[in-house]
C-alpha cells in the first residue's frame, strides 16, 4: 500500500501518548521529520523511530497510516484527525480518535475505552470489541460526541454514547449497562443484547436494541408499538416497543426495544392500552 507503515519495535510496558500519530498531523512531513517526532512514553520523551520501524512514503494529501503491533497501552491514536486513514493492525488503547473531526480509523483488533470521545466527524470501525464510554466525553464536561460514526463489530462496555449530542454509534455485538446515559441527541443501535439501564437520564435522541434487554427503567413510559425503525438510511424491521424518557430528566428520548427478543417486557403492553 502507499502511505506510511509504522511497526512497533517492542512491547509497550508503560503508557504511550500516541496523540501525535494521525494522518492530519503527519501529512506533508518528510520521513526524517516523522522519525524524529517526539512523544511521551511514560515520563520519558522518545522519538518515533525509537519505538517504530517507519517505512513507506508520505506523498499524498490524503495520507494513510498503517500501524502494526499491540497498541493496547497507546493513548489517543488519531487525536483530532480531520482526514486521511488510520489503519491499526492489532489492538488500540484508550481514547482512540479522541476529538476526531474527519477521515477514517480502522482497528483489526480490540479498542480501549473512550473510542471517539468528543468526536465531531469521521468514521471509526472496530473489528473486535470496544471498551467503555465509546462516543462519550471528558469527565464533568457533559458533552459527548457531536457527529460522525462509530461502528463496533464486537461488544462494547458501559455508557456507550454517554452525554452524546449527535452522530451514530452502531454495536453489532452486545453492550454493557447505560447505553445513551444523559444522551441529548443522535442514534445508538445495538444489534445484540444490552445488560440494562438503556437510556438512563436521557433527554433526547434514539436508542434501538435488537437483542435482549432485561428490563426498562421505571422512569420510562411506553408510547407505542412500531413495525420497524430507521437507523440512518437503513430500515430495521421489528416489531419494537417504543418507550420515551427519561422522565426524571423530563426527557423525550426514544428507546426502541425488540418485542421478539424480550417477552419479559410484555406486561408493559397493558399500560400501552391505558395510554391510547
Amino acid at each position: 500500500m502507499s502511505g506510511l507503515i509504522l511497526t512497533l519495535k517492542k512491547e509497550l510496558k508503560v503508557p504511550l501518548d500516541a496523540s501525535i500519530i494521525s494522518p492530519t498531523n503527519l501529512a506533508g512531513k518528510t520521513m526524517d521529520e516523522v522519525k524524529n517526532l517526539e512523544l511521551w512514553e511514560g515520563n520519558k520523551k522518545v522519538k518515533i523511530n525509537e519505538i517504530f520501524h517507519v517505512e513507506g512514503e508520505n506523498k499524498e494529501e490524503d495520507l494513510t497510516i498503517k500501524l502494526v503491533g499491540d497498541f493496547s497501552k497507546a493513548r489517543g491514536l488519531g487525536f483530532k484527525m480531520s482526514g486521511g486513514k488510520l489503519v491499526i493492525e492489532g489492538n488500540a488503547g484508550l481514547r482512540l480518535g479522541e476529538k476526531m473531526k474527519g477521515g477514517l480509523i480502522k482497528v483489526s483488533g480490540n479498542a480501549g475505552s473512550w473510542v471517539g470521545s468528543e468526536m465531531t466527524g469521521g468514521i471509526i470501525e472496530i473489528e473486535g470489541d470496544a471498551g467503555d464510554f465509546i462516543g462519550a466525553g471528558y469527565r464533568g464536561g457533559r458533552r459527548g460526541m457531536r457527529g460522525g460514526k462509530i461502528i463496533v463489530k464486537g461488544d462494547c462496555g458501559v455508557e456507550a454514547g454517554a452525554w452524546m449530542i449527535n452522530g451514530i454509534i452502531k454495536v453489532y455485538g452486545n453492550a454493557g449497562i447505560f447505553p445513551g446515559i444523559h444522551m441529548k441527541g443522535g442514534t445508538i443501535f445495538i444489534k445484540g443484547n444490552c445488560e440494562g439501564r438503556a437510556g438512563a437520564e436521557m433527554k433526547d435522541g434514539k436508542i434501538v436494541i435488537l437483542g435482549f434487554l432485561p428490563s426498562v427503567l421505571p422512569s420510562f413510559d411506553i408510547d407505542d408499538i412500531k413495525d420497524s425503525v430507521k437507523v440512518e438510511e437503513e430500515k430495521i424491521s421489528g416489531p419494537f416497543y417504543l418507550f420515551t424518557g427519561d422522565l426524571n430528566e423530563d426527557g423525550i428520548g426514544k428507546l426502541y426495544v425488540s418485542i421478539n427478543s424480550n417477552p419479559q417486557l410484555k406486561f408493559w403492553e397493558e399500560f400501552l392500552e391505558r395510554v391510547i
Partner: protein, 565 residues
C-alpha cells in the same frame, strides 16, 4: 538582602501624589529606601510605567468553596494548564486555578497582595492551608459573620460589648482580617431552604433583621477599630430591582461613619445593581447607586465586573447560587456550614449575545465611570464570579478607552446596548486613576500602611509595565494597555524580582495578614465563659479545636488593633 535601583520609569504613586513623573525608585532589604549603594542591581525602566504592586481587595482564591469549585470542574482545568519549571510547580487554570498557578498568574500581572473575601470560620484552617500553598503574593481572609448564630443572639439580647469581644476572639482564633457579611440573615434562612427578601424581614427563629445585623456589625467594626470597614454582599443579590436594597443597605450605616471614613464596603456591586422588575426588563441601577455614592462619603465599593467568559460562580450566598442553578440547570454545589454560613458553586457562561449578561457587563463599567471619586472604587471581577482575575487587563482597557468599550458594545445584545447609559459616557480613566482603583485605594481601604505606594518605608512590591506613557494615547492604543497589564516587564516582591516578561524567575512565600484584636480581659473572659456551653451545643467540634494555631501561617503578619472596650 540585595539592593535594586529602578531607573527612569514613569512612576504612578497616587498615595504620594506622583502622577507619571520620570524618577528613580530605590530598594533595599525588601523596602523602599531613599538611596542605594553603587552595588545595587539596576533595572532600566525608561519608557516603562512603574506602579506599586497591585492589591486585590476581593478575589476568591482559597478555601473550601473554591476547592469545591475545583473538584466540580475537571473540564475547566483540562483546557488550561501550566507545566512545571525549575522554579515553579505545575498546575491548572482556568476559572478556578490551582493554588500555585494562582500565585504565579497574579505575580505575572504585577499583583502582590490579594484578599480572600469569604472564609467560613469553622473551615478557615482549610483556607490557611491553601493560602500557604499560594506562592509569592501576600494574603489575608475575611471572616463570614453575617449569619453567625452567636452574633444574631447577642444582637437579639442587645449585648454589644460582649458581642464585640466575641468577634474579637473569633478573628484571633481563626486568624482573620476583616468582617464579611453575605446576604445577612438570608443564608441562615437558606438553612431551612428559605430566603429573605427585604432588609426589615425577620430571620426565622432569630427574630433579627438584615438591617439590624449590618448596623450591629458596623458598630462592632468601629468598637474594635478594625483596619477595613465591614465588607458587605447585600441581600437580594442577583435579583431584578435589587439596586434599591443596595442603596438601603448603604444608607443603613450612614450615621456610623467614623471621622469621615467609609463605614461600609459594598462588594461586587454589579451583582447588586439591577434595576427593572424581571429578567425581561432588567436594566442598570448603576446611575442611581453612583448618584448615592457621589452624595455620601461613608460608602466605597468594588465593581465585580463581568468579562464575558465561561467561569465558575461561587459565593457564601447559598440561596442565590440555587437561583443561578435554576437558571442554568447545569451543575450545582451547595455547602451549608453549621451555625455560621453557607456556600454555593455554579458554573456559568456569560455571553455577549445574552441580554441579561450584557446588561450586567454594562452595570459594572457604569459604576466605575459614574462614581466621580476613584478612591471610592475598587477594580474587581469578584474572581471568578464575573470572570477570572486574568481578565483584569480587559477591564482596564474598557475603563481607559471609550473606543474599547464601543468595540464591545457593538458585539453585545442590541436591546441591552439600547438600554444602557454606557454608550453615552465619555469618561476615560487615566493611568493615575487605574493605579488608584487597583492598588492605592485598595491598600488604603484595607489599612495596609506599607502597601499600595512607593514612599520610603513601603514594602518593595513593585510592578513595572512595558508601556511608553509619553507616546501613548490609551484611548486609541487600548490594545497596548491590555498587552502591558497582562504581564509585567518586572514584578518585584519584597525587594526580589519574581517575574520578568511574563516568566516567573523566583518563587517565594507571601505573608498572611491577620488582626490581633484586643479587648479588656474581663469582658473577654465573661464572654468566653458564657460562650463555651452554647458552642458545644451548636457546633460539632470542641472550642479548643476551633482555634487555629499561628503555625498554620508560614509567614504570619499580625496587625495589632486596640479596641475601645
Amino acid at each position: 538582602m540585595s539592593e535594586i535601583l529602578i531607573k527612569n520609569g514613569f512612576v504612578f504613586d497616587p498615595l504620594n501624589n506622583i502622577n507619571g513623573e520620570k524618577m528613580d525608585i530605590f530598594i533595599k532589604d525588601g523596602k523602599i529606601v531613599e538611596k542605594v549603594s553603587s552595588k545595587a542591581k539596576v533595572i532600566d525602566a525608561s519608557n516603562m510605567v512603574v506602579m506599586p504592586g497591585g492589591v486585590d481587595i476581593h478575589s476568591h482564591i482559597a478555601g473550601s468553596k473554591v476547592n469545591a469549585g475545583r473538584v466540580l470542574r475537571p473540564e475547566d482545568h483540562v483546557k488550561d494548564f501550566e507545566v512545571k519549571t525549575k522554579v515553579t510547580r505545575s498546575g491548572v487554570g482556568y476559572s478556578v486555578p490551582s493554588t500555585f498557578t494562582t500565585g504565579y498568574r497574579y505575580a505575572k500581572m504585577g499583583y502582590t497582595t490579594v484578599f480572600e473575601p469569604a472564609t467560613p470560620p469553622l473551615k478557615t484552617r482549610h483556607t490557611h492551608e491553601e493560602l500557604r500553598d499560594i506562592p509569592i503574593i501576600d494574603k489575608g481572609c475575611f471572616a463570614l459573620l453575617g449569619n453567625n448564630w452567636f452574633i444574631m443572639e447577642y444582637l437579639k439580647e442587645d449585648k454589644l460589648e460582649e458581642c464585640a469581644a466575641y468577634v474579637s476572639w473569633l478573628l484571633n482564633a481563626i486568624k482573620g482580617y476583616a468582617i464579611k457579611i453575605v446576604n445577612p440573615g438570608g443564608t441562615e434562612a437558606w438553612g431551612w431552604g428559605k430566603g429573605i427578601s427585604h432588609l426589615d424581614e425577620e430571620v426565622p427563629y432569630f427574630n433579627v433583621t438584615p438591617k439590624e445585623i449590618v448596623r450591629w456589625l458596623c458598630k462592632i467594626n468601629n468598637i474594635l477599630n478594625l483596619p477595613h470597614p465591614i465588607h458587605v454582599h447585600t441581600n437580594n443579590l442577583g435579583k431584578p430591582g435589587n439596586y434599591v436594597t443596595t442603596i438601603e443597605t448603604m444608607d443603613a450605616v450612614k450615621d456610623l461613619s467614623k471621622n469621615g471614613e467609609a463605614s461600609i464596603h459594598v462588594t461586587h456591586v454589579q451583582f447588586n445593581g439591577f434595576a427593572g422588575t424581571s429578567w425581561l426588563n432588567l436594566a442598570s441601577g448603576a446611575p442611581e447607586i453612583a448618584d448615592y455614592i457621589n452624595k455620601n462619603a461613608h460608602v466605597e465599593i468594588d465593581i465585580g465586573q463581568v468579562t464575558f467568559s465561561d467561569t465558575t460562580t461561587m459565593t457564601a450566598d447559598g440561596p442565590f447560587q440555587y437561583i443561578l442553578y435554576l437558571l442554568s440547570r447545569e451543575k450545582w454545589v451547595n455547602a451549608d456550614v453549621e451555625a455560621e454560613t453557607g456556600a454555593g458553586v455554579v458554573p456559568f457562561r456569560y455571553k455577549k449575545s445574552n441580554y441579561v449578561n450584557a446588561i450586567q457587563w454594562g452595570i459594572g463599567l457604569e459604576l466605575a465611570l459614574l462614581v466621580k471619586d476613584p478612591w471610592k472604587i475598587h477594580m474587581t471581577t469578584d474572581h471568578p464570579n464575573g470572570g477570572p482575575f486574568t481578565h483584569y487587563p480587559k477591564v482596564i482597557a474598557w475603563l481607559m478607552s471609550k473606543k474599547a468599550r464601543e468595540k464591545t458594545l457593538n458585539k453585545i445584545n442590541k436591546n441591552a446596548k439600547r438600554r444602557l447609559d454606557l454608550p453615552g459616557i465619555d469618561r476615560e480613566y487615566t493611568l493615575y486613576e487605574i493605579a488608584i482603583i487597583t492598588r492605592a485605594a485598595t491598600a488604603k481601604s484595607l489599612g495596609l500602611k506599607n502597601k499600595g505606594h512607593l514612599g520610603v518605608g513601603a514594602d518593595a512590591d513593585v510592578a513595572i509595565y512595558n508601556l511608553n506613557y509619553k507616546s501613548l494615547d490609551p484611548s486609541k492604543d487600548y490594545k497596548l494597555i491590555k498587552k502591558a497589564f497582562k504581564q509585567t516587564a518586572y514584578t518585584i516582591k519584597d525587594g526580589e524580582i519574581v517575574a520578568k516578561n511574563g516568566e516567573i524567575i523566583a518563587s517565594s512565600k507571601g505573608k498572611i495578614y491577620w488582626v490581633n484584636s484586643k479587648v479588656a480581659e474581663d469582658i473577654q473572659e465573661s464572654m468566653l465563659n458564657n460562650l463555651k456551653m452554647k458552642f458545644e451545643e451548636y457546633y460539632t467540634v470542641k472550642m479548643e479545636n476551633y482555634i487555629i494555631n499561628e503555625s498554620y501561617l508560614h509567614k504570619s503578619f499580625m496587625l495589632n488593633v486596640q479596641s475601645e472596650v
